[in-house]
Amino acid sequence: MDLILSGIDVLARWDVMLALLVGAIGGVAIGAIPGVGPAVAIAILLPATFSMDPIVGLTLLLGIYGSSMYGESIPAILINTPGTAVNALTTYDGFPMTLRGEGRRALSLAYSASFLGGIFSVVCLIFLSPVLAKIAPMFGSREIFLAALLGLVLVVVAHKGQMAIAAALAGFGILIGTVGLEPAAYTRRYTFDQSWLAGGFDLIVVVLGLFALSQAFLLLTMDDEKIRLPRSRGSLFQGFRELAKHPRVAGIAASFGVVMGMIPGVGEFTAQFMSYTSARRLSKNPKAFGHGSSEGLIASEAANNAVPAAAMIPLLALGIPGEALTAMMLSVFYV
């Protein structure tokens, strides 16, 4: 209880509140731009956060991380273009609703389900982190290694049908991590006598290159898209009422999000996929899935929005980032 109160005390600071507000609104705006997404925004803002008070910088990034999941559903619903792959399944039911002229209803359902998924996940973070934190001191280097290995294995296993190439790329990731001066015997690895490689690859530089620059280069070579928005009706506030009619779908979806978020290397896409499949199997009207089903939209949005807070559980308790975005957060903790 003391921890929760001290957390609220920190949140009440004006600079933290401002960072949260800017992060949350900015996250929705960034998420709504197809092809940009939170990874790019966080990668760009990462160097800027180093000059801030760590709690302010972290709050800003967490605001973006949490809210961008909903932001990404906006283009998925309105123009059938998911912000990133995370919202691919949102297009299945969101866009058919828009075509029927129910764009506002779909958006309302998306943010209601996102809200529920996010809150459920934060509650899990509050109650599960202390439990894991008690176990964390028992974790030595071997246990941390095994947890990281579990993450690597899951990354490979999650890519069904492409496991060989996933293993190869996981190996490439390990190789990049080994470049430079190794800490045990102080010998150089794969530096090719280049002094600038002696320090290895800096995490922030790699993150900027992988997420921000690569995406920028890709956007520079793509043609401009002409987008025509269809007319929309429905209330922006009817989502919560509809959500209340499907408590089981929403609950299962949020649970999938929390579990998948906690497991390193799995993340939003798998959570959304499993939640959607499960909702369709349990639904009384499975044929409506993919044709504008409110249950389908709730299943996908509640699941992917439950992941960010849950992904913070292994990061905060064990120091293991579950995915790229939490790895970026980890670099803020290091500063």
Partner: protein
Amino acid sequence: MDNSELLQVKTKTSGQVVFVVAGLALSLFLLSQIGSQTEWSERARNIGSQPRLWPAIALITMVLGFALHFWRMRRRRPNALDWVEARRWVEPLEYLVWFLIYVAAVPRLGFMPMSILFACALTYRLGYRQKPALAIAGAFAIAMVVLFKGLLGVNIPGAQIYEYLPDSIRTFFLVYL
């Protein structure tokens, strides 16, 4: 329908064979260098602390992964669409060169002047050649510099060229521009 559109319509796996072979070749090259690029330490307490262990695990995984994926591919000989896709991936490298020039020029010629020049030149290169587009690019560059260097205090080195400015304005340029 041009080749790139055909590529999107016909297959989602175009270009794979080119990248898998390139990945396999790179992995084999790096594995062949393991003797000279890593050391086998006699002082290591156990196998886990051997400097060569993790690069070896990573590279063997890469070689096996790429080789297995290549072996399981339905089509192992690249066709025209594979090369179209590969070219699409190479095209953005032009902008990597632009970016490297920008990064090299900033500590010499200044963050603000180079950002304005870079944004306007890139906008022109992309085909937006009307005055309003160039003005927006310039304004964006100024806003970016003010936000990142002025307000957020991101540590970007002051330019060498600013050393030649009069004393009265030099510090301002070094700190904010």
